[in-house]
Amino acid sequence: MHELSVASAVLDTALRHAEDRRVLVVSLRVGHLRQVIPDSLAFYWDIVSRDTPAAGARLDLVVVPARLRCGGCEEEWDMDGTPEFRCPRCAAGEVQVIAGNELEVDSIEVEEESECIGSR
Protein backbone atom coordinates (compact mmCIF):
# COMPACT_ATOMS: atom_id res chain seq x y z
CA MET A 1 0.00 0.00 0.00
CA HIS A 2 2.95 2.40 0.45
CA GLU A 3 3.50 2.25 -3.32
CA LEU A 4 1.29 5.34 -3.62
CA SER A 5 3.60 7.30 -1.29
CA VAL A 6 6.66 5.92 -3.07
CA ALA A 7 5.24 6.82 -6.51
CA SER A 8 4.56 10.40 -5.34
CA ALA A 9 8.09 10.76 -3.96
CA VAL A 10 9.59 9.40 -7.19
CA LEU A 11 7.44 11.78 -9.26
CA ASP A 12 8.49 14.81 -7.19
CA THR A 13 12.16 13.88 -7.60
CA ALA A 14 11.84 13.27 -11.35
CA LEU A 15 9.94 16.51 -12.01
CA ARG A 16 12.45 18.57 -10.03
CA HIS A 17 15.29 17.25 -12.17
CA ALA A 18 13.27 17.54 -15.39
CA GLU A 19 13.01 21.33 -14.99
CA ASP A 20 9.74 21.61 -16.93
CA ARG A 21 10.87 19.33 -19.76
CA ARG A 22 8.66 16.39 -20.71
CA VAL A 23 9.74 13.18 -18.94
CA LEU A 24 9.86 10.02 -21.08
CA VAL A 25 11.59 7.49 -18.82
CA VAL A 26 12.31 7.29 -15.10
CA SER A 27 14.91 4.74 -14.00
CA LEU A 28 14.57 3.66 -10.42
CA ARG A 29 16.62 1.39 -8.15
CA VAL A 30 14.55 -0.16 -5.38
CA GLY A 31 16.08 -2.30 -2.65
CA HIS A 32 14.43 -5.60 -1.74
CA LEU A 33 14.03 -4.36 1.85
CA ARG A 34 11.75 -1.49 0.76
CA GLN A 35 8.99 -4.07 0.12
CA VAL A 36 7.85 -2.35 -3.05
CA ILE A 37 5.62 -4.40 -5.35
CA PRO A 38 6.55 -3.39 -8.93
CA ASP A 39 3.06 -3.87 -10.42
CA SER A 40 1.51 -1.84 -7.65
CA LEU A 41 4.08 0.92 -8.09
CA ALA A 42 3.41 1.00 -11.85
CA PHE A 43 -0.33 1.26 -11.17
CA TYR A 44 0.08 4.24 -8.84
CA TRP A 45 2.72 5.80 -11.11
CA ASP A 46 0.15 6.11 -13.90
CA ILE A 47 -2.24 7.82 -11.50
CA VAL A 48 0.11 10.28 -9.80
CA SER A 49 1.90 11.27 -13.03
CA ARG A 50 -1.36 12.08 -14.83
CA ASP A 51 -1.59 15.75 -15.88
CA THR A 52 2.10 16.33 -15.15
CA PRO A 53 5.09 16.60 -17.56
CA ALA A 54 5.78 12.95 -16.63
CA ALA A 55 2.40 11.67 -17.84
CA GLY A 56 2.87 8.49 -19.83
CA ALA A 57 6.53 8.17 -18.86
CA ARG A 58 7.91 4.65 -18.61
CA LEU A 59 9.03 3.54 -15.16
CA ASP A 60 12.14 1.35 -15.39
CA LEU A 61 12.52 -0.42 -12.10
CA VAL A 62 15.52 -2.46 -11.01
CA VAL A 63 15.16 -4.42 -7.79
CA VAL A 64 18.40 -4.54 -5.78
CA PRO A 65 18.74 -7.76 -3.76
CA ALA A 66 19.27 -7.45 -0.01
CA ARG A 67 22.89 -8.15 0.87
CA LEU A 68 23.83 -8.41 4.54
CA ARG A 69 27.13 -8.65 6.41
CA CYS A 70 27.83 -9.83 9.93
CA GLY A 71 29.96 -7.35 11.87
CA GLY A 72 31.16 -10.20 14.08
CA CYS A 73 32.42 -12.94 11.73
CA GLU A 74 32.25 -10.91 8.46
CA GLU A 75 30.03 -13.52 6.78
CA GLU A 76 28.15 -12.03 3.80
CA TRP A 77 24.88 -13.34 2.43
CA ASP A 78 21.79 -12.45 0.40
CA MET A 79 18.53 -12.26 2.27
CA ASP A 80 15.54 -13.70 0.50
CA GLY A 81 12.17 -14.76 1.79
CA THR A 82 11.81 -14.26 5.54
CA PRO A 83 13.31 -11.01 6.83
CA GLU A 84 15.99 -12.37 9.17
CA PHE A 85 18.83 -10.12 10.26
CA ARG A 86 20.63 -12.87 12.17
CA CYS A 87 23.99 -14.14 10.97
CA PRO A 88 23.50 -17.70 9.60
CA ARG A 89 27.05 -18.61 10.64
CA CYS A 90 27.64 -17.21 14.13
CA ALA A 91 24.09 -15.96 15.00
CA ALA A 92 25.79 -13.12 16.87
CA GLY A 93 27.31 -9.84 15.87
CA GLU A 94 25.68 -6.74 14.46
CA VAL A 95 24.25 -7.31 11.00
CA GLN A 96 24.85 -4.52 8.49
CA VAL A 97 22.81 -3.91 5.38
CA ILE A 98 25.23 -3.56 2.45
CA ALA A 99 22.51 -3.32 -0.20
CA GLY A 100 18.75 -3.54 -0.36
CA ASN A 101 17.64 -0.26 1.25
CA GLU A 102 17.76 1.76 -1.99
CA LEU A 103 14.89 3.94 -3.12
CA GLU A 104 16.82 5.87 -5.69
CA VAL A 105 15.95 7.72 -8.87
CA ASP A 106 18.96 6.78 -10.96
CA SER A 107 18.25 8.81 -14.09
CA ILE A 108 15.50 10.28 -16.20
CA GLU A 109 15.11 10.75 -19.94
CA VAL A 110 13.58 14.04 -21.01
CA GLU A 111 12.57 15.63 -24.29
CA GLU A 112 14.57 18.63 -25.36
CA GLU A 113 14.37 21.15 -28.19
CA SER A 114 16.65 20.02 -31.02
CA GLU A 115 18.49 23.34 -31.34
CA CYS A 116 20.09 22.74 -27.95
CA ILE A 117 23.27 21.00 -29.08
CA GLY A 118 25.05 20.74 -25.74
CA SER A 119 23.49 17.85 -23.90
CA ARG A 120 23.42 17.88 -20.11
Partner: protein
Amino acid sequence: MHRVKVRVVEDALDANNTIASANRADFDREGVTVLNLMSAPGAGKTTLLVKALPGLEGVRPGVLEGDVAGSLDADRLADVHIPVTQLNTDQGFGGECHLDANMVRSALPSLPLADLDLLVIENVGNLVCPAEFRVGEDARVMISSVTEGEDKPLKYPLMFRACELVIINKIDLLEHVDFDLERFLYHLEGVHPGVPHLLVSARTGEGLEAVREYLVGLASRAGAPA
Protein backbone atom coordinates in the same frame (compact mmCIF):
# COMPACT_ATOMS: atom_id res chain seq x y z
CA MET B 1 12.95 17.30 -30.34
CA HIS B 2 15.43 14.76 -29.04
CA ARG B 3 15.92 12.69 -25.96
CA VAL B 4 18.37 13.61 -23.24
CA LYS B 5 19.32 11.39 -20.36
CA VAL B 6 19.70 13.23 -17.07
CA ARG B 7 21.69 11.58 -14.31
CA VAL B 8 19.83 11.97 -11.02
CA VAL B 9 21.11 9.42 -8.43
CA GLU B 10 18.98 10.80 -5.65
CA ASP B 11 17.03 9.08 -2.91
CA ALA B 12 13.36 9.66 -3.66
CA LEU B 13 12.85 10.59 0.00
CA ASP B 14 15.61 13.24 0.01
CA ALA B 15 13.11 16.09 -0.35
CA ASN B 16 11.18 14.84 2.66
CA ASN B 17 14.36 14.31 4.66
CA THR B 18 15.52 17.87 3.96
CA ILE B 19 12.29 19.27 5.40
CA ALA B 20 12.55 16.83 8.32
CA SER B 21 16.01 18.23 9.10
CA ALA B 22 14.59 21.76 9.08
CA ASN B 23 11.85 20.66 11.50
CA ARG B 24 14.47 19.03 13.67
CA ALA B 25 16.52 22.23 13.79
CA ASP B 26 13.45 24.20 14.86
CA PHE B 27 12.62 21.67 17.59
CA ASP B 28 16.23 21.72 18.80
CA ARG B 29 16.25 25.50 18.93
CA GLU B 30 13.21 25.40 21.23
CA GLY B 31 14.75 22.64 23.35
CA VAL B 32 11.96 20.20 22.50
CA THR B 33 12.63 16.47 22.13
CA VAL B 34 10.35 14.82 19.59
CA LEU B 35 8.98 11.30 19.58
CA ASN B 36 7.33 9.85 16.47
CA LEU B 37 4.84 7.27 17.80
CA MET B 38 3.60 4.76 15.25
CA SER B 39 1.36 1.68 15.21
CA ALA B 40 -1.45 -0.04 13.38
CA PRO B 41 -4.92 1.49 13.87
CA GLY B 42 -6.34 0.54 17.24
CA ALA B 43 -3.09 -0.61 18.87
CA GLY B 44 -3.61 1.88 21.69
CA LYS B 45 -1.47 4.92 20.89
CA THR B 46 -3.91 7.46 22.30
CA THR B 47 -4.85 5.38 25.35
CA LEU B 48 -1.17 4.95 26.16
CA LEU B 49 -0.57 8.71 25.89
CA VAL B 50 -3.65 9.55 27.94
CA LYS B 51 -2.35 7.26 30.70
CA ALA B 52 1.39 7.92 30.48
CA LEU B 53 1.74 11.66 29.81
CA PRO B 54 -0.11 13.35 32.71
CA GLY B 55 2.16 14.01 35.69
CA LEU B 56 5.36 13.09 33.88
CA GLU B 57 8.10 14.07 36.31
CA GLY B 58 9.94 17.24 35.32
CA VAL B 59 8.71 17.05 31.72
CA ARG B 60 6.12 19.26 30.00
CA PRO B 61 4.63 17.04 27.28
CA GLY B 62 2.53 17.99 24.28
CA VAL B 63 1.02 16.01 21.42
CA LEU B 64 0.68 16.57 17.70
CA GLU B 65 -2.21 14.34 16.77
CA GLY B 66 -2.19 12.98 13.23
CA ASP B 67 -5.42 11.58 11.83
CA VAL B 68 -7.01 11.32 8.43
CA ALA B 69 -10.11 13.06 9.80
CA GLY B 70 -11.72 14.24 12.99
CA SER B 71 -10.44 15.17 16.45
CA LEU B 72 -11.63 12.22 18.58
CA ASP B 73 -8.12 11.38 19.81
CA ALA B 74 -7.17 15.02 20.40
CA ASP B 75 -10.31 15.48 22.49
CA ARG B 76 -9.31 12.58 24.73
CA LEU B 77 -5.90 14.14 25.34
CA ALA B 78 -7.39 17.59 25.95
CA ASP B 79 -9.62 15.98 28.59
CA VAL B 80 -6.52 15.09 30.62
CA HIS B 81 -5.06 18.60 30.10
CA ILE B 82 -2.29 17.67 27.67
CA PRO B 83 -1.64 20.46 25.13
CA VAL B 84 -2.66 18.94 21.82
CA THR B 85 -2.67 20.16 18.23
CA GLN B 86 -4.73 18.35 15.61
CA LEU B 87 -3.30 17.66 12.15
CA ASN B 88 -5.77 16.16 9.68
CA THR B 89 -4.36 14.72 6.48
CA ASP B 90 -7.69 15.10 4.65
CA GLN B 91 -7.35 18.89 4.71
CA GLY B 92 -5.04 19.91 1.89
CA PHE B 93 -2.94 16.74 2.01
CA GLY B 94 -5.17 14.33 0.07
CA GLY B 95 -6.11 12.15 3.06
CA GLU B 96 -2.61 10.69 3.34
CA CYS B 97 -2.17 7.49 5.35
CA HIS B 98 0.87 8.88 7.18
CA LEU B 99 2.42 12.14 8.32
CA ASP B 100 5.35 13.47 6.34
CA ALA B 101 7.83 16.22 7.15
CA ASN B 102 5.94 18.85 5.19
CA MET B 103 2.67 18.23 7.04
CA VAL B 104 4.44 18.51 10.38
CA ARG B 105 6.15 21.69 9.13
CA SER B 106 2.74 23.18 8.36
CA ALA B 107 1.67 22.51 11.95
CA LEU B 108 4.74 24.12 13.54
CA PRO B 109 3.22 27.61 13.95
CA SER B 110 0.30 26.18 15.93
CA LEU B 111 2.51 24.19 18.33
CA PRO B 112 3.28 25.77 21.74
CA LEU B 113 6.94 24.74 21.50
CA ALA B 114 8.17 27.27 24.07
CA ASP B 115 6.00 25.57 26.70
CA LEU B 116 7.07 22.00 25.89
CA ASP B 117 9.99 19.70 26.68
CA LEU B 118 8.63 16.65 24.89
CA LEU B 119 6.46 16.58 21.78
CA VAL B 120 4.86 13.27 20.88
CA ILE B 121 3.79 13.09 17.26
CA GLU B 122 1.03 10.51 17.15
CA ASN B 123 1.25 9.29 13.58
CA VAL B 124 -1.67 8.04 11.50
CA GLY B 125 -2.42 4.40 12.35
CA ASN B 126 -0.57 2.40 9.69
CA LEU B 127 2.33 -0.06 9.81
CA VAL B 128 3.69 0.73 6.36
CA CYS B 129 4.05 4.32 5.14
CA PRO B 130 4.91 6.07 8.43
CA ALA B 131 8.12 4.02 8.55
CA GLU B 132 9.28 5.66 5.29
CA PHE B 133 8.82 9.29 6.21
CA ARG B 134 10.93 11.03 8.82
CA VAL B 135 9.24 14.09 10.27
CA GLY B 136 12.10 15.65 12.27
CA GLU B 137 11.91 13.38 15.29
CA ASP B 138 14.62 12.43 17.79
CA ALA B 139 13.23 8.94 18.30
CA ARG B 140 10.80 6.54 16.69
CA VAL B 141 8.79 4.16 18.82
CA MET B 142 6.06 1.76 17.80
CA ILE B 143 3.27 0.01 19.62
CA SER B 144 2.34 -3.53 18.66
CA SER B 145 -0.62 -5.01 20.49
CA VAL B 146 -1.10 -8.67 21.30
CA THR B 147 -4.38 -8.76 19.36
CA GLU B 148 -2.44 -8.18 16.12
CA GLY B 149 -0.67 -11.54 16.16
CA GLU B 150 2.92 -12.67 16.62
CA ASP B 151 3.89 -12.65 12.94
CA LYS B 152 3.80 -8.86 12.55
CA PRO B 153 7.59 -8.23 12.73
CA LEU B 154 7.99 -10.57 9.73
CA LYS B 155 5.24 -8.81 7.77
CA TYR B 156 6.29 -5.22 8.49
CA PRO B 157 10.07 -5.35 8.86
CA LEU B 158 10.50 -1.74 7.70
CA MET B 159 8.45 -0.49 10.64
CA PHE B 160 9.94 -2.83 13.24
CA ARG B 161 13.46 -1.92 12.07
CA ALA B 162 12.74 1.82 12.12
CA CYS B 163 12.04 1.91 15.87
CA GLU B 164 14.35 2.23 18.83
CA LEU B 165 11.72 0.76 21.18
CA VAL B 166 8.76 -1.56 20.70
CA ILE B 167 5.91 -1.28 23.20
CA ILE B 168 3.84 -4.46 23.35
CA ASN B 169 0.40 -3.33 24.46
CA LYS B 170 -2.79 -5.02 25.71
CA ILE B 171 -0.92 -7.69 27.68
CA ASP B 172 -4.00 -7.94 29.93
CA LEU B 173 -5.56 -9.81 26.98
CA LEU B 174 -2.75 -12.37 26.67
CA GLU B 175 -4.80 -15.15 28.25
CA HIS B 176 -7.71 -14.53 25.89
CA VAL B 177 -5.93 -14.40 22.53
CA ASP B 178 -3.78 -16.83 20.54
CA PHE B 179 -0.67 -14.70 20.80
CA ASP B 180 2.60 -16.52 21.42
CA LEU B 181 4.73 -13.85 23.12
CA GLU B 182 7.92 -15.89 22.91
CA ARG B 183 7.41 -16.40 19.20
CA PHE B 184 6.77 -12.66 18.71
CA LEU B 185 9.97 -11.79 20.57
CA TYR B 186 11.91 -14.33 18.51
CA HIS B 187 10.65 -12.75 15.27
CA LEU B 188 11.31 -9.26 16.62
CA GLU B 189 14.90 -10.19 17.49
CA GLY B 190 15.35 -11.68 14.02
CA VAL B 191 14.09 -8.56 12.26
CA HIS B 192 15.68 -5.97 14.56
CA PRO B 193 18.38 -7.57 16.71
CA GLY B 194 18.84 -5.94 20.09
CA VAL B 195 15.81 -3.64 19.95
CA PRO B 196 14.37 -3.22 23.46
CA HIS B 197 10.70 -3.87 24.22
CA LEU B 198 8.29 -3.07 27.04
CA LEU B 199 5.28 -5.16 28.08
CA VAL B 200 2.38 -2.87 28.81
CA SER B 201 -1.33 -2.72 29.39
CA ALA B 202 -2.38 0.88 28.90
CA ARG B 203 -5.83 -0.20 30.08
CA THR B 204 -4.82 -1.65 33.47
CA GLY B 205 -1.69 0.45 33.91
CA GLU B 206 0.64 -2.55 34.06
CA GLY B 207 4.11 -1.66 32.79
CA LEU B 208 3.28 2.02 32.34
CA GLU B 209 5.92 3.12 34.81
CA ALA B 210 8.64 1.84 32.46
CA VAL B 211 7.09 3.82 29.59
CA ARG B 212 7.11 6.95 31.75
CA GLU B 213 10.76 6.35 32.67
CA TYR B 214 11.60 6.00 28.98
CA LEU B 215 9.79 9.26 28.16
CA VAL B 216 11.56 11.17 30.96
CA GLY B 217 14.91 9.84 29.75
CA LEU B 218 14.05 10.75 26.16
CA ALA B 219 13.10 14.31 27.11
CA SER B 220 16.57 14.86 28.59
CA ARG B 221 18.17 13.68 25.33
CA ALA B 222 17.60 17.01 23.53
CA GLY B 223 20.00 17.72 20.69
CA ALA B 224 21.24 14.13 20.39
CA PRO B 225 21.36 12.69 16.88
CA ALA B 226 18.42 10.47 15.88
